[in-house]
Amino acid sequence: MSKSKPTLASTFCGIECLNPFWLASAPPTNCGEQIMRAFDAGWGGAVWKTIGEPITNVSSRYSSIDWEGRRMMGFNNIELISDRPIEVNLQEIAEVKRRYPKHVVIASLMVESKRESWHDIVQRAEDAGADGLELNFGCPHGMSERGMGSAVGQVPEYCEQITGWVKEKARTPVIVKLTPNISDIRVPARAAKRGGADALSAINTINSITGIDLDTFQPSPNVDGKSSHGGYCGPAVKPIALNMVQQIQADTASMLPLSGIGGIGSWRDAAEFILLGCSTVQVCTAAMHYGYRIVEDMQDGLLNWMAEKGFATIEDFRGLSLPNVREWKQLNLNYQIVARIHEDLCIGCQLCYTACWDGAHQCIHLDRTSPAPDTTLTPGMVEAESARRISTTPIPKLDAGTSGRTNAITPLERIPRVDEHHCVGCNLCSLVCPVENCITMERIDKDLPFESWEERVAKGLITSGTGEVMSTNT
């Protein structure tokens, strides 16, 4: 592999990019002044906050989910598209492109579902100098009630038709932004492709109600005591976004160059989206949380990782993980792992023990110091027994031997034991263990060849009548 310095420069559906980090169409890309500051901070591109007939917003517009002291794990908004006149936005696009000719400016568009309206806005956006167009078929709130946004994205026929209208006029690449508020993201993706889209972007925000105030019983965001469903985004939605990205990229009828969106806040997130086939990534919540400056680490971190792995360009690793995502029926049923607790690292919290008993398959025991392993004691009995013990404050002078007691070593009685014969390899214990590498999953399969459910059915080992495997992805 190449030892030369890697580059983040790439091409996305014909658009030259300095780097794959774009700001998504949202408040951080509301005006030219903001976007120019973002470009100065290092963003390679920006999707201009959706241009259309200016709207009126409500206040408040945002709400969020905090988790264990961390703010904004999930973020929600009921803000609509740009509240500024089309003309002002277009003038500013022209100004930004004049000053930053190498940076990507995509115009996000949303107008009423009329051919002439779309022709008109496409022409004006391109005349202003936009490098590409992103059709907002995803906005789940406000605009959808007016027959726009996700109201279009949820109906494949509209999706295909409007994409077609845009393509009749467009000279620059057309990106269709998909809504996740649909049972199968591939349906609108295929429609966009049939309509002639050059690329896709996914996902838009997910319909949500973030929470209810337990004092006032009012949902948030609070608009004069009332609220409405809003668009959910932020770190919490990344797994959902990754799944949808994979679904699009694994489907030949929908596969197009893809700009990944959904919970991306660091270079690691970006690398994961690219490994599932994305060419660029779009960021919003993280920039709203921490500002434009986060892009510095995103670039730096991704370049360092690429150098470590020997990747020279984004294309070198784009999509590498796609072959590793399969349907359940194609997984190896003969792969067997068991949990192993490393005594030297165990701190004795016993979270694995109670997790295995209550949340999994009762294969972890606390009988290291019992004369004969007593596996009949339930966790409740263990806990009740210890609560009956009489403890006193150790006083150095009165209690010889207790003053020097050390916390350095975990007593054997607190280190749980895995019954490897019963361990199903579900992995829960290693997930709850707070100490890194303390519980590892070790492979114990006995040189059995790869064999999937599909193969077992094909060999007649399992009757296909019972072989219908539930998978949310099929």
Partner: protein, 452 residues
């Protein structure tokens, strides 16, 4: 019950003391408490809970702080330890819950359990909510409790929750024993101790103050009650037995601490010498520093490794500027009406482990105040005297012998707990003793099945 002034309102802190004895460990605010609570791993059968003599379900009360269920958190604490607020401040958590925290083995700071516990308790008090327990339906049974310190208070709470009448008798004008009079003010302010006991009184505990119970009085209480709990603590601080001990300027650590806490004492002279190296001696020495002494010495017959103070208390004393003199023995007190100095002899350890005076090593340490803190005598002898009408209660080296699980003494109707049984330990040990005895008494009286 007749109208009475709430305990905390019966005292007023001296401004000098308030200023000089600020919190040793400042309280958490919500912004700090919640992330700290979330740091707790929620261990199964948690070592902190096992290490706590009262077995507070620590992970559970911490989880409730994290979720914002603060009243539930306080209830979890109080359910196990009715003096949860005092203990959150006074406990040597370094050797108890926090010392047992598994985080030590992860090269991380232990969870700050004490500060979280105080946060939950302070929040409860500030909310103005009542004690989250109610007295049980009256059973008609009654128990006399001698002493109103932590052991008796904890015992009384268990009895009241089971519908048993609890009559507390104490020689002092206020309840709490050492909790109120004997713990350094920067750990547990006097009013905080009283605030907690005021809340406990909502269970309908009857207090009889300034009442000294002797053998005859005890025999009377035995006759009029269904059981007796002895929470009498320890007696006077030992004397040195040297010339000059009667001079003005010789006092003991408990009087010094009780004196400044009650506001009777707001200053000490320049040079203070504390004799003894236990936790109380450290409290007295640090108090002397804060009350204005220029030079404070702690003297001990043996070496640093034999002192009974906790290591962290020793470090704290050094940090406050207390100086330590090891291997010295007082042989006399000099002064003319008032103390001027302490005569000392250096000691040397011999091969057999005993300590002997070094020849020609006598010297005088100048001092204006000498504070004795060389252990407390027991005063349980009247329980086994020939005049006691209830038969002899078994003692061992002056301590009342009890069954550890129930607190029962050799005389079935008598139960005991706290310092008079263990020779002097921590508040939390007394609370645990009292709690076990309360449950033990109820069981012995046949009411163990009352739901609490």
């Amino acid at each position: 019950m007749s109208e009475r002034v709430p305990f905390p309102e019966q005292v007023s802190a001296a401004p000098e003391v308030v200023e000089r004895f600020g919190d040793l460990h400042p309280p958490f605010d919500r912004q700090a408490a919640v992330p700290e609570a979330n740091r707790c791993l929620y261990c199964f059968d948690a070592p902190c809970t096992i290490a706590c003599p009262t077995h507070i379900d620590v992970p559970s009360f911490i989880k409730k702080i994290a979720s914002g269920n603060l009243s539930g958190s306080a209830r979890t604490i109080l359910d196990a330890n009715i003096l949860g607020a005092s203990c959150s401040r006074a406990c040597p958590v370094e050797v108890l819950c926090e010392g047992a925290c598994v985080m030590h083995r992860y090269n991380k700071q232990p969870i700050q359990i004490a500060r979280l516990q105080r946060f939950a308790m302070d929040t409860l008090y500030e909310s103005g909510a009542p004690l989250p327990f109610e007295p049980g339906p009256e059973t008609g049974l009654s128990v006399a409790l001698i002493g109103a310190g932590p052991a008796s208070l904890a015992c009384a709470a268990e009895l009241r929750r089971r519908g048993i009448r609890a009559d507390l008798y104490d020689a002092h004008p206020l309840p709490g024993g050492l909790n109120t009079y004997g713990i350094a003010e920067y750990k547990l302010p006097l009013v905080e101790s009283l605030r907690e006991i005021e809340m406990l009184s909502q269970l309908g505990v009857e207090f009889h103050f300034e009442t000294k119970v002797d053998a005859a009085g005890l025999a009377e209480l035995e006759r009029t009650h269904d059981a007796v709990f002895l929470g009498i603590g320890l007696g006077a601080i030992h004397q040195l037995g040297v010339a000059g001990e009667q001079l003005a300027g010789v006092t003991n650590a408990l009087d010094l601490i009780a004196g400044y806490k009650s506001g009777a004492l707001t200053t000490v002279p320049k040079r203070v010498v504390v004799v003894g190296a236990g936790n109380t001696a450290i409290d007295a020495a640090i108090a002397s520093v804060r009350l204005g002494a220029r030079e404070v010495h702690i003297l001990y017959r043996r070496g640093q490794e034999q002192m009974s103070a906790f290591a962290f208390e020793y470090e704290h004393a050094k940090h406050e500027g207390v100086k330590f003199l090891w291997h010295v023995q007082p042989t006399g007190i000099r002064g003319d009406g008032a103390v001027k100095g302490l005569e000392l002899t250096r000691l040397a350890a011999t091969e057999d482990g005993s300590i002997v005076p070094e020849k020609d090593s006598a010297f005088v340490l100048e001092a204006d105040l000498i504070v004795l803190s060389i252990g407390q005598a027991t005063h349980a002898d009247f329980l086994s005297g020939p005049s006691s009408g209830f038969g002899k209660i078994q003692l061992e080296r002056g301590r009342i012998v009890i069954d550890r699980a129930t607190g029962q003494t050799s005389q079935p109707k008598f139960f005991a707990g706290g310092d008079c049984t263990n020779g002097g330990r921590e508040v939390v040990d007394a609370v645990a003793d009292g709690k076990r005895a309360g449950i033990g008494i109820a069981g012995w009286l046949g009411v163990q099945h009352v739901k609490v």
